[in-house]
Symmetry: C2
Amino acid sequence: MKSFLNIDAHSHFSMHNIPFGVFRRGDKPPAIGTRIGEYVVDLGALEAAGVLKSRHFAGESLNRFMATGRGTWREARGAIQRVLSEDSPLRDDTKIRDAAVFPVGDVRMLLPCHIGDYTDFYSSRDHATNVGIMFRGKENALMPNWLHLPVGYHGRSSSIVVSGTDLRRPRGQTKTDDATAPAFGPSRMVDFELETGFFIGPGNELGQPIPISRASEHIFGMVLVNDWSARDIQKWEYVPLGPFLAKNFGTSISPWIVTMDALEPFRIDPPSQDPQPLDYLLPAGAAYDISLEVSIQSADMANPHVICRSNVRNLYWTMQQQLAHHTCNGCNVRPGDLLASGTISGQREDSFGSMLELAWNRTKPITLPNGQQRVSIQDGDRVTMSGCCEDKSGEYRVGFGEVTGRILPVL
Amino acid sequence: MKSFLNIDAHSHFSMHNIPFGVFRRGDKPPAIGTRIGEYVVDLGALEAAGVLKSRHFAGESLNRFMATGRGTWREARGAIQRVLSEDSPLRDDTKIRDAAVFPVGDVRMLLPCHIGDYTDFYSSRDHATNVGIMFRGKENALMPNWLHLPVGYHGRSSSIVVSGTDLRRPRGQTKTDDATAPAFGPSRMVDFELETGFFIGPGNELGQPIPISRASEHIFGMVLVNDWSARDIQKWEYVPLGPFLAKNFGTSISPWIVTMDALEPFRIDPPSQDPQPLDYLLPAGAAYDISLEVSIQSADMANPHVICRSNVRNLYWTMQQQLAHHTCNGCNVRPGDLLASGTISGQREDSFGSMLELAWNRTKPITLPNGQQRVSIQDGDRVTMSGCCEDKSGEYRVGFGEVTGRILPVL
């Protein structure tokens, strides 16, 4: 499958990908597009020109398209692949190409949709175990419920930002173990969390659970998620109602939603689960082989430095299980809702998906190439996550690009 | 202040109230209105007829009006009071009255706005103490953070419903203390929680906290909230990330938003707080004297039976403190976001705001007038909450009406 556009063999955005996103060019209104190699393609413009016969992409957000369902998504992806293929009439139509195909550097990416509700799970066993060991000791590392249900909680949708948005270091209330009273000030323990997330397609009505056998019909596609966290705020606030201000100062996502059809070649068997989950969580659904990487670049470093290599296959609970569990009580999910995985850590020490784990609760500082040490994110540090699938034959890639952002000093 | 419309002296919706809501009449589009006595007034229609000179009420939700700010809200309320007063030209204009003033029975209320994010606090000391005693014993009743910050967590906005909406009993995963493994099935411990909530006005940009001195500018008005809860699901799921499926099967709110200007005569001194909160939570802001009542009516009862009498003054943390805390890390709140108080319990046993407390963890069943006993909500039970302020002279009331709903059997 070749395009008339020149695509690097290592590009995340091959003809096999065709992700969906929303971009802005200059002061023009937001537009729905796809990305191919180093180009962004305005899908609304292709519809307006009659090159695409569909009517999904005229708006400024993907919610309406997400609501249409998997058959429509698949058809649209196929149609876009045909329009971009090497023998497409678009190749020689410079007028339409000028109006619809732009170098990626000419556009600014926006959030892909209106995110009504955001849920964050806690689905990597190694991450939950690591955190448990650090805070409760080896014997009580995993809570009793963890192996029986995909633990999750509601996050904040208002503070979800697209890759490239810098965030201010949060202030907050914290209390050190030896202090008699809490204090208020800038967090001293800002961290990242390496996650992926998926967007809801059609969704369900309140009171009508989505059975796990139909969960895949409601999963539109995936993005990378950096669930920024302030560990000192979290520690003082989170009992008994869970994390709140430790998380809601900002959550970053990658701009291009990679569809489940594009990820299909990288589907693998779900992890073996012991004890066997209850019936409403079976069959477990699908896992995916997606390589993940986290790099950090401090203000005086010339290049980013990779500090973590993980993989989506490290997740214990599948997306289908997360969604079936989320709706088993009748809770409704809507097109554009985001469900994130929780920190994705593997077994190896260099696969841990947060600084908390990489520096093992501040006891093993990470040394950067310039000699600086890190146990948490400092002002000016840029954290970048990337994710990619590689075809077994090495012929093509399907990737997410990256989610990146810096922590700025408090105002 | 008299209206040309006949208003019962005991009505919650006196000329001193002028709440805002959204209603639907027949198959007409949703419309923004106010309520006066037993009438609903279409404010968009009054603007269209030139009776109101403003341009706030043409849409189908209050978000845009909420964003305008307190000066505009106050002006609009004054203008509506004048239009409804006894010497208003509207009195004799039957054509406009027919197009804009309807008996309350002719309309169906909708959610008043798009609720982007929903946060639930835990701000009644007696409630937190009661729950703590039941689950952790008297010595550790209040968690160490509780007296230092308004504990809160993110709820689900998709499943917020307007009063009158019945909800299905949720299914879920639970584990009894003596069971070796969890089971899946209908919750056996559905409960209500008596709360109030406030809607955000203009709100803030991400990274720009709202200082407590300016918090009142961002509080549009209040509603009653029933935070339906499934105690058995909650008990098994909530450690360590907080309540999730125990809460998100439905949250009910009263349809009319009562403005802070209408509640101003019922403002009282904030509760004394010891230890003194940190500076960013001072000055504490305002408390309110609003009487609250909860009644229950089982399927075979002819009338509702009051089981709880509480008051908003029982809250320890003020709305200003909740909002300043929520944004102190830079988290943004948007017009239409809802922040709820947490269960409002007082010191007396008949002022406890949940069945969990009233029946003291199933040990003291409540006996209904027909002899039935209750330790939790049964299928067919209707729970109704009402809230009202009474002028000292007894001349008028400003109230919320009610939030009501039934629990239906599982499908």
